[in-house]
Every structure is written in structure tokens, then in C-alpha cells.
């Protein structure tokens, strides 16, 4: 009964309530083979619940959840899945190699220990006790545990939290290799640059629903908002009236301008004040993007 299409897992109209709180409100989500999907959203948007449903950790109150065409609680379905959870305290007194061998034993055809260690970049840690590792090293070991079973679908929940830049980039390289091998990956992250660097598809959740589903470019286009800061004595209130300017305020000697067309506003600013200096243009951060996206939906809902 497995689907011949490249769909590896799906949520269809999934509903999950915790008491009065509706964590997922009819969520539709489809995961495809060989695709890296970044799942973004503010805290409480339903990311973790969606992943928990797909892993069979919790049962949906409504809708349909499938993992490789099966119930996610079916162990045969989960034998094709690798997992790295956001927080898991692993047995402190076991060595890295022992932890990996244990995890490998759960899978029908795991990678070898050497291949796993090489992919995750932990070859030098194998004989170390887990408790003696730094936070970043522990995350790399957890990543190795996620990929050691040669999964066809990999769940990575905030994988690079606590990693330094070098470790993060090594992990990104490993993720790209896995995707190239045809592994599907679901990544949740708070770092927009991580989603930008890796994801083919970005799904933004809010209040248990899909807010936007598309490429990274499509997401950025939706939140094309930038912040301009500069030293200038132009009148903030006058600038606030310009087209494409959402807000303009004065912070001491500096002007702070919110805009959806930074190039246009910058050109006009430079024309208006040749003495303008210390110009900065910042693209909206992820937090602002989310605020913007969620604000849009709530006003839409009010208008409807």
C-alpha cells in the first residue's frame, strides 16, 4: 500500500490539542524524498508537535499521519528514520562508540562505525566518555546517532544550537551530503541563515497552521522588510510620510527607518541629506519576519 510517489511522510488535516490549547489546527504537510525542508515558526507554533506526530510520539486527535505509508508507531516505518531531538541527556558513562553501536543495533542496515564517525566529523571522539564532551561535541554525537542507521528521512530539531561556527559549517556540509544521497530531511531552526544555506523548501508555521510554504526566496519576498539606521538631522516625522516607509523614529542623533523598499528609501535619504553618515541597512531578522507574517494572518482573520 506504499505510495509510488516520492512522498516519504505526510500530515493531512492533523489536529492535536493539549487541554484547551490547540497545538495543531488542521495541519497539512508533505515531505518528499531527497528534499530538505526547514520548518520555521515562533515558539508554540506547533513545530515540535508536528515532529512528535510524525515520529509517533503522540497521537493526533484528528486527521491522518503517515510515515512511509504506515502508521508512525509501526516500528518498520521508524526503522527508516533518523532522529536528533532538541534536548536529550544521553547516558553519561558510555563512550561515544558504545552509544553509536547501540543506536546502530536498532537498524536493519546501518552505516559502519567508521563511516558514521567520518560523516559526522567525530572520529577523534569515539573512545571518549559522553559526559566528558563539550556541548557542541555532544550535539555532533547526537547528529551521528541520527544518521548512523542510514535513514531515508532525518529529523533534525535545532541541530546547531551550542555549536561554534566551524562545527556548524561541518554539520551543514554533512547535511548537504546526506541530501545528495537522497535522504529527506526535516530541519527546525531559529537561524534564518541556516534555513537559507540548506533548505530547498521552507514551511512557516504559526498557531498550528501552515502560514507559508515555498522556496527560501519566496519566504524572503514575503517579509521584504529592512531597517535603515544613519546619522542625519532630517526630520523623522517627515520621512515617516514617504512612500514605502512603515515607520521612522529618532533615537538621539540617529534616524531609524522601517521600510519594504530599502534601495528606494536610501536613494531618497542620500539626496535629501548629503551630510548623512554611518548608513546601515539590515534585512529583517527571523523574529521580525515571523512577527510580520503572524501579524498579517491575525489581521486577515479579523478582516474576514
Amino acid at each position: 500500500m506504499e505510495h509510488a510517489v516520492a512522498e516519504v511522510a505526510s500530515l493531512a488535516g492533523a489536529v492535536k490539542r493539549y487541554g484547551d490549547l490547540t497545538a495543531l489546527d488542521g495541519l497539512d504537510l508533505m515531505l518528499h524524498r531527497g528534499e530538505l525542508l526547514a520548518l520555521l515558526g515562533p515558539n508554540g507554533a506547533g513545530k515540535s508537535t508536528a515532529i512528535s506526530l510524525l515520529l509517533g510520539l503522540v497521537r493526533a486527535d484528528g486527521g491522518r499521519v503517515q510515515l512511509f505509508g504506515k502508521d508512525p508507531q509501526d516500528i518498520d516505518a521508524r526503522r527508516r528514520v533518523g532522529v536528533m531531538l532538541q534536548s536529550a541527556v544521553l547516558p553519561a558513562t558510555l563512550s561515544v562508540a558504545e552509544l553509536l553501536r547501540l543506536t546502530m543495533s536498532y537498524y536493519p542496515a546501518p552505516r559502519t562505525l567508521d563511516e558514521t564517525a567520518e560523516l559526522a566529523g567525530i572520529g577523534d571522539l569515539l573512545s571518549r566518555r559522553y559526559a566528558g564532551l563539550s556541548g557542541g561535541q555532544q550535539r555532533r554525537v547526537q547528529f551521528a546517532m541520527a544518521l548512523c542507521g542510514r535513514p531515508e528521512l532525518l529529523f533534525l530539531d535545532e541541530p546547531t544550537v551550542g555549536m561554534d561556527i566551524e562545527a556548524r559549517q561541518k554539520l551543514w556540509a554533512a547535511i548537504r551530503r546526506l541530501v545528495a544521497e537522497g535522504c529527506a530531511i526535516v530541519l527546525t531552526t531559529h537561524y534564518l541563515e541556516e534555513a537559507e544555506a540548506l533548505a530547498q523548501r521552507v514551511v512557516v508555521l504559526a498557531k498550528g497552521r501552515v502560514l507559508s510554504d515555498g522556496s527560501v526566496q519566496a519566504l524572503r519576498a514575503r517579509v521584504a522588510r529592512a531597517r535603515i539606521r544613519c546619522l542625519s538631522d532630517l526630520d523623522a516625522q517627515a520621512i515617516a510620510q514617504w512612500s514605502h516607509v512603515t515607520s521612522a523614529t529618532r533615537e538621539g542623533t540617529r534616524l531609524a527607518i522601517q521600510t519594504d523598499a530599502a534601495e528606494h528609501v536610501v536613494r531618497r535619504l542620500l539626496d535629501a541629506d548629503p551630510a548623512l553618515s554611518e548608513l546601515e541597512v539590515l534585512r529583517a531578522g527571523l523574529a521580525e519576519a515571523f512577527t510580520e507574517l503572524t501579524r498579517e494572518t491575525s489581521t486577515e482573520q479579523e478582516a474576514a
Binding site: L55, F68, D76, R78, L85, V89, L90, P108, A109, F155
Partner: protein, 264 residues
């Protein structure tokens, strides 16, 4: 075999899990559980030290009565006292901790075969119980010159290793009720009074009669009777006590399994 596995796995085809590998997963889980706890002094030291220290102090050093049966009797008593703790603490505390720190969630998300987690912990508790009994036996023979046949010693070891199981079930149930750091406290509130009231520290006959009448309620009372049988000091038949412990074990397991299914 290895190379064939690899060649097949290189293609993105899904394969079924061979039975040999499923069994291997159970073994790996049990091995990891044992290694991990036997390497942790904070678990092993209290489990091993309390019964052996008590036996050394109250049995061997302070045994002025020179009663030949006293040391054998205390061997059974402290054996039961020592066997209870890997069951209650090894199972209860670790389950409570791992429900709290995300390890249980990860294990449930991973394709670990069903029950491997609990079986692994059971086996670990049995090994720890075995270690405690062996140490007590070594002290009894070496320092106390207790007269026991090899059969009796073996029977006591068996009693300890199987007798830990109802306490595993009890610990598991407590582990599903309490989360995280609270578990050791709650378990001590059960462990210490229960040891006292079932006559493991002071013989039942020296306790107030109200406590004597209450004693059949505690599983440790029954394990104590079985252990006394094992060393040749039993009265009546041991089988009713085995039956009571079986009911205790199954009852608590069912209660715990129901709670685990509901709350995860």
C-alpha cells in the same frame, strides 16, 4: 555478510529487519544499560555499600551472642535489604530521570524494539542484585565462617536475582508517578520504612504486634521468607510467598505499563 549488507544498503531500497538483528538490538540495549550503571559510582556505591556495611557491623563485628544461626539469618535479611535497592532505585530513579531529561522520548522515537528499554533495566537490576548477594556471601564465608552448602548459596543468589523483579515493577510504577529529581526521595520513603517494618533490620518478633500483623502487606516480608528458606532457616512452605511476589510484580507492572502508555 557485512559486505553484502553494505552493497544492498547503498541502494535506497528499504529492507526488512532480520530476526538476528532484532535479537542483537535487545542484547545491545541490555549490555549498554548494565555497563552504564555499573560504571556509575553514584548508583553502584550506595547499592553495594549499605547492605555490606550493615552486615559487617551488625552481623560480623557486633555478633557477641555467638549464635551460629544469627549470621545466617542476617545474611538473608541484609541480602533482601540489598536486593531491594537496585530494583527500586535502578528502575524507579532512572525511569523518572529519563522521562524528564528527554532520553525516554528519544528512545521511543528511535526504532528500538518494543520492551528492550525495560528488559535492559531489568537485567541491569538483576546483575546489580547478584553482585550484592555475592559480596554478602563472600563476607559470610570469609569473615563470618557461616556454614552453608553450595546449593544453599546458589539458591540465595537465585532468590536475590529473581527477587529483585517485583521491586523493579514497584520502582517502575513510582518512576511513572514522580518525575526527575523527586524520585530518590519518594523511593527512600518507601524503601527504608518498608525494610524496617518487614523485619529486615530487627527481627519481626521483636517489633510491636501491630507492625507484625501489618507485615504481610510488604513484598519485602515475603522475599525475606523465601531467602530464609534458601539458607535453610525457613518455616512452612516458600511457595505461597513466591505467589504473593508474583502477584505484586505483575500488578505493579500492569499499573506502570498503563501509566506509561497514557502519559509517555
Amino acid at each position: 555478510m557485512q559486505t553484502i549488507d553494505l552493497a544492498l544498503a547503498a541502494a535506497p531500497t528499504h529492507q526488512a529487519m532480520p530476526l538476528r538483528r532484532v535479537l542483537g538490538a535487545y542484547l545491545a540495549e541490555a549490555r549498554s544499560e548494565c555497563l552504564r550503571y555499573l560504571r556509575a559510582p553514584s548508583f553502584l556505591l550506595p547499592v553495594v555499600l549499605f547492605p555490606t556495611m550493615f552486615y559487617l557491623l551488625f552481623g560480623i563485628v557486633m555478633n557477641h551472642a555467638a549464635d551460629p544461626h544469627a549470621l545466617t539469618y542476617l545474611l538473608a535479611s541484609y541480602g533482601v535489604f540489598g536486593v531491594m535497592s537496585p530494583g527500586l532505585f535502578g528502575f524507579g530513579v532512572s525511569l523518572a530521570m529519563e522521562r524528564d531529561n528527554g532520553l525516554l522520548t528519544l528512545k521511543r522515537a528511535l526504532p528500538m524494539p518494543p520492551g528492550a528499554y525495560l528488559l535492559g533495566k531489568m537485567l541491569m537490576a538483576m546483575v546489580a542484585a547478584g553482585v550484592v548477594i555475592l559480596l554478602l556471601l563472600a563476607m559470610a564465608f570469609g569473615l563470618g565462617h557461616v556454614q552453608l552448602t553450595a546449593g544453599q548459596a546458589g539458591l540465595l543468589l537465585l532468590t536475590g536475582m529473581l527477587g529483585v523483579l517485583p521491586f523493579c515493577a514497584m520502582g517502575m510504577f513510582v518512576g511513572t508517578l514522580v518525575k526527575g529529581q523527586g524520585a530518590p526521595g519518594v523511593l527512600n520513603l518507601i524503601y527504608l520504612p518498608m525494610s524496617f517494618m518487614s523485619g529486615l533490620w530487627i527481627p519481626l518478633s521483636m517489633l510491636p504486634s501491630a507492625l507484625q500483623h501489618l507485615s504481610p502487606v510488604w513484598p519485602s516480608t515475603h522475599l525475606h521468607q523465601i531467602a530464609l528458606h534458601a539458607v535453610g532457616l525457613g518455616q512452612g512452605s516458600a511457595w505461597p510467598h513466591v505467589l504473593v511476589l508474583l502477584v505484586f510484580g505483575v500488578g505493579f507492572s500492569l499499573l506502570a505499563a498503563r501509566r506509561l502508555r497514557r502519559i509517555g
